[in-house]
Symmetry: C2
Subunit: 274 residues, 2 copies
């Protein structure tokens, strides 16, 4: 058995520029992150942000929204393939995605990384850093992107003035826990088809919530990254895509996806999760 051996799994996986058309970056995602970011110190207020319904302010009443506008934070542009923060770095900021898509990942002993999540507009990243004051994962942009860098200590000060605001932060953390719950369910008890169906439907819902088509979209991540996230090999991901296409559930052309038969997809996935 492979208690010890079984080492060389895959060859080198360098962090790729990540997207189909990222002319923007030959850089290898190892650029030093600038936690004390200057770049785009544009003043932005949550109350007027087009993402306010799905981002941090979500659920806040008028009074607290104004208070949230007291929050000072910088916007930062991130080129495709660049990291905002790395696992192990000191934790100071949480990040709200304004534009683009990110993956967060954890490093395994053999140097590969496992993707633990994908993040799109309005979603927060970095909350896992609160635990030990260090980032517990690495966040990399899958395409040119923009984030709000929110100083965590500042957010806390503000939260101290409003129990509602405090509750929002707690709720966001808890939501992250719940999100990971469902990923655990997926990894622990679904087969390849169910995993991919769950993944695509989840993506679909999130795109829909952001005003995009829920049935036709462009994947920002590679088969390798999808596989890493879903706990399967890239070849299996590819095969499963093909299988769905043959079954008439999907139309797949590389990273362009069209969900043809939503009910059937939903069935394939709901079989296991309720």
């Amino acid at each position: 058995m492979s208690a010890t051996a079984s080492m060389p799994r895959e060859r080198v996986f360098r962090l790729v520029p990540a997207t189909t058309a990222p002319k923007a970056a030959t850089k290898t995602a190892t650029t030093a992150p600038v936690e004390t970011s200057p770049v785009a110190p544009l003043k932005t207020s949550c109350s007027s942000c087009h993402l306010r319904e799905i981002c941090l302010p979500c659920g806040l009443a008028g009074n607290d929204i104004e208070r949230l506008d007291g929050l000072k934070f910088a916007r930062r542009r991130i080129a495709a393939g660049q990291a905002i923060y790395h696992e192990g770095e000191a934790f100071h900021f949480i990040y709200a995605v304004r534009m683009g898509t990110f993956k967060s990942s954890l490093v395994l002993a053999d140097g590969r990384d496992q993707v633990s999540g994908f993040h799109m507009a309005g979603e927060l990243m970095g909350l896992d850093g609160v635990a030990h004051g260090k980032h517990a994962s690495t966040a990399v942009a899958l395409e040119d992107a923009e984030v709000c860098a929110i100083p965590y200590s500042h957010l806390n000060e503000l939260a101290a003035t409003s129990s509602n605001l405090q509750h929002i932060v707690s709720r966001l953390m808890s939501r992250e826990i719940v999100r990971e719950h469902s990923l655990m369910l997926l990894l622990g008890s679904m087969n390849a088809e169910e995993r991919l169906a769950a993944f695509l439907l989840n993506l679909s819902q999130r795109l829909k919530a952001r005003g995009y088509s829920p049935t036709e979209f462009h994947l920002r991540m590679s088969r390798q990254e999808i596989g890493s996230y879903l706990g399967m090999k890239l070849e299996t991901v590819s095969r499963t895509f093909s299988a769905f296409q043959q079954q008439g559930l999907l139309e797949v052309d590389k990273r362009h996806i069209r969900i043809v038969d939503v009910p059937a997809m939903t069935r394939a996935f709901e079989l296991r999760v309720h």
Copy 2:
């Protein structure tokens, strides 16, 4: 991810009796939970609790500890097999384990449940309920147990008076996120031996932190529950135990475990996670 119905597929999953029914209680863990618990309204203070180093107060300074003593909560005894709360129920309390072991689990569409964690003395349960005001998992005692039922709203009031205290709560939530991260790593990229090794070593560490032997202990959970937690079938768990025994890493007698070769176990597991 959510859903409504579920449909047949090709493979049949019969509904198994929900769980390895614990004999201590022929009741099927469906006892109505008493959120507004009376039972044991003993006044307990954190500052004098023998678990203070590993439980809620962990990391608090003298001043805040006293403040924490203002926290009013009840102790509750839970019989083996009984649930403290069920998935979907309104969330009001978080629970700190005083004695005994718990599992928390999520229900799958086919009626089986997947174990998402095991909890022992000093650990908190229920933080996943903050997200939506409903418990996102079910917590069941694996042996006769005792918990502190802490009213979440009360904890919040108290937290509002101390930023340190607030930070403690946030940190605990974040720690839960990080904990789930590592489970995701495990489920996403380890084989059976690595999973079981990781599980046993984790258990070992936690027992050690509580003053028990890290190398010899009694499992409170069945093969079925371990398998559910680790994303493998109970037969595979059993076989893997046997394999470890044959390799001279473990001595196994049903639920009695003795880790004979800790370094080798560690290697089997560290191979993947750093």
